[in-house]
């Protein structure tokens, strides 16, 4: 009787273990299929500081990185992204969004030779801007297509002194 119970216990444990393995397999499969996107970028949780460069890497499935920038002072800033010149599948692309200003968006595709992208924005103190980093290829990816971007980049925000006369504002 005891031996029978032990065998039943072992069988149950094996079943649970195999179920666990099955779950692991399922998660890894889902993990392989998971891709971030323009509307669902991977939040790095990093707040950019003026004048400091931040290095990171885009990989297949994680081709959209989201940073945050909250200026203490209003004024012009240059958001810049630099990737290795001539990289086969990483062509620098920056997208800046101001959710507090009617979701105003500024985007730029970098110089194909230098792979440097610059987007200049007149920011408002206290607003939090989304700074989204990706590759031009990802921005044009058809639905269901697999991201192939796999390469390093650096991103920064730098204050600029610009003295435009009053325009349409």
């Amino acid at each position: 009787m005891n031996r029978r119970r032990i065998m039943q216990g072992v069988a149950a444990s094996l079943l649970l273990l195999s179920a666990g393995c099955a779950d692991d397999d399922f998660e890894s499969q889902v993990g392989e299929l998971r891709q971030d996107s323009l509307n669902n970028p991977t939040d790095t949780g990093i707040d950019l500081e003026p004048g400091l460069w931040h290095d990171n890497v885009l990989v297949p499935g994680e081709g959209w990185h989201l940073y945050h920038f909250t200026p203490e002072q209003s004024g012009w800033v240059a958001f810049q992204m630099q990737a290795p010149p001539g990289h086969e599948n990483l062509w620098s692309y920056l997208r800046i969004v101001d959710p507090e200003h009617n979701n105003e968006v500024w985007a730029g595709v970098g110089n194909k030779r230098t792979n440097l992208c610059e987007v200049i924005v007149n920011v408002d103190a206290g607003h939090t801007y989304d700074v989204i980093v990706t590759s031009q290829e990802n921005s044009l990816l058809a639905a269901g297509a697999t991201q192939e971007t796999d390469g390093p980049y650096t991103v920064a925000v730098s204050p600029l002194t610009l003295d435009f006369e009053a325009g349409t504002e």
Binding site: V109, L162, E169
Partner: protein, 167 residues
């Protein structure tokens, strides 16, 4: 030998023409094939006005930098005087796109902004670039609405103000 009645032949031809004009789009341009506004180039700091129509939804102006420094493009939209209630009376959201003309320094750069309509009578968009004297850019002045159906889908007047500054 069977001979076609000339009247029937003309009627068939008429039908073909009518079908062709029904199936062919009334618009000619797209975001990838914008229409050059050749009589309004942007040479340095300047200002132009124009209109986005169902026939020409993606007008563009050729800008030539007159200085080394920075340039600011500001686009403003407003509803047509005879169509004040378009978009429920709110000026259409502008969409400004700028594409660099490649040279020894530049290659395939582009920028865009979809602006805002915080003042309902005017939609506004703004882009600022670093430029060298003599560089050229194509400045496409269209509406965010034209991306919804990927063709000209709304009418508006626009004003484009260009200002250059040296650092």
């Amino acid at each position: 030998m069977h001979r076609t009645n000339p009247l029937r032949r003309r009627a068939a031809l008429g039908c073909l023409i009518a079908m062709a004009s029904f199936t062919l789009p009334a618009w000619a341009d797209t975001i990838d094939r914008p229409t050059l506004v050749a009589d309004k180039p942007l040479d340095g700091s300047t200002e132009v006005t124009g209109s986005v129509t169902l026939e020409r939804g993606f007008p563009y102006h050729r800008y030539t930098a007159q200085t080394d420094g920075f340039v600011r493009f500001q686009m403003e939209t407003s509803n047509l005087e005879n169509r004040p209630n378009d978009n429920e009376g709110v000026a259409w959201r502008p969409y400004l796109r700028i594409i660099s003309v490649s040279n020894e320094h530049r290659h395939a750069e582009a920028w865009s902004s979809n602006g805002h309509q915080l003042d309902t009578s005017t939609g506004k968009a703004e882009l600022v670039l670093r430029v060298r004297k003599g560089e050229q850019f194509d400045v496409i002045t269209t509406l965010a609405q034209n991306f919804v159906r990927k063709r000209p889908d709304a009418r508006a007047n626009y004003r484009l103000v260009v200002q250059e500054v040296s650092p």
